[in-house]
């Protein structure tokens, strides 16, 4: 019975990371903008959810007060996280702009 050599296995099949294509700067920018827009979407959704809960409470629908408060807190935390990320991005941009030429 013939035993096949292990070497015949394509190395790219076992480690796909080796054959991964190089990320160009334009790809990175696109990725970053996608992540940013996704995050902003999420923040927006939290805000809308909070608004909806508050409206329900004001209209006298069957919604608990603590759920309204928790929704608003969640919206506030996501917004502050986004602000923090934005501050970091702006900081990095300014750092680069201050580079002496």
């Amino acid at each position: 019975m013939a035993i096949h050599s292990i070497n015949s296995i394509n190395p790219g099949l076992l480690s796909p990371s080796l054959s991964k294509k190089q990320i160009t700067p334009s790809d990175a920018t696109e990725n970053f903008s996608q992540i940013l827009s996704k995050t902003i979407d999420e923040v927006n959704r939290a805000q809308i959810q909070s608004d909806r809960m508050t409206e329900k409470l004001v209209r006298g629908e069957n919604v608990d007060l603590h759920q309204v408060m928790i929704a608003s807190q969640k919206a506030s935390i996501t917004l502050q996280t986004t602000m923090e990320v934005r501050n970091k991005v702006v900081e990095a941009y300014q750092e680069i702009m201050r580079m002496p030429m």
Binding site: D64, H66, Q67, I70, Q73, K74, I77, Q80, E84
Partner: protein
């Protein structure tokens, strides 16, 4: 979002304690209700004391699946608490009070009053309030922890 897991757990506990409070209010309000249900003999029966039964909330399908295929999942922490049912107290007997003038008095002049003990309801009320407060404290601690983590690197 997984950063809000703890907040969702707290939220379920607050909802459960609110419901407990509602049930206690109902018990307190009906402390003198002699006509709640009609029994099989066609006679009025007084209100029965109600209490809530709570149980841990089962994790979702994805959690079980992740555990089964050995992926990282939050299988060790629960999803909060839920009220499984509101049970009527069948064990405590009704209070018998002598009041022949009462419309629901029996032939001997005794009236069956609900098996609600105001003292016990007050204790339950305090317990529900304190549990609610404790969960609000957990929520605030959780929020301040998240806020602290936003200060990393400032």
């Amino acid at each position: 979002m997984s950063i809000f897991t703890s907040m969702n757990t707290t939220s379920s506990a607050l909802t459960a304690q609110r419901l407990r409070m509602d049930v206690i209010s109902s018990n307190m309000a009906n402390v003198d209700s002699t006509r709640a249900t009609v029994n099989e003999n066609g006679e009025w029966e007084p209100y029965r004391r109600k209490s809530v039964v709570m149980e841990p909330k089962e994790a979702g399908f994805s959690t079980f699946l992740n555990t089964a295929i050995n992926r990282r999942g939050n299988h060790s922490i629960g999803q909060g608490v839920k009220v499984s049912k509101i049970q009527e107290d069948e064990n405590t007997p009704f209070k018998m009070v002598y009041d022949p003038e009462h419309p629901d008095a029996n032939a001997d002049g005794y009236v069956q009053l609900p098996n609600v003990d105001p003292l016990r309801e007050m204790v339950d009320l305090i317990s529900a309030t304190r549990s609610y407060e404790a969960n609000v404290t957990v929520f605030n601690a959780n929020k301040s922890m998240l806020m602290k983590s936003l200060e990393i690197g400032k």
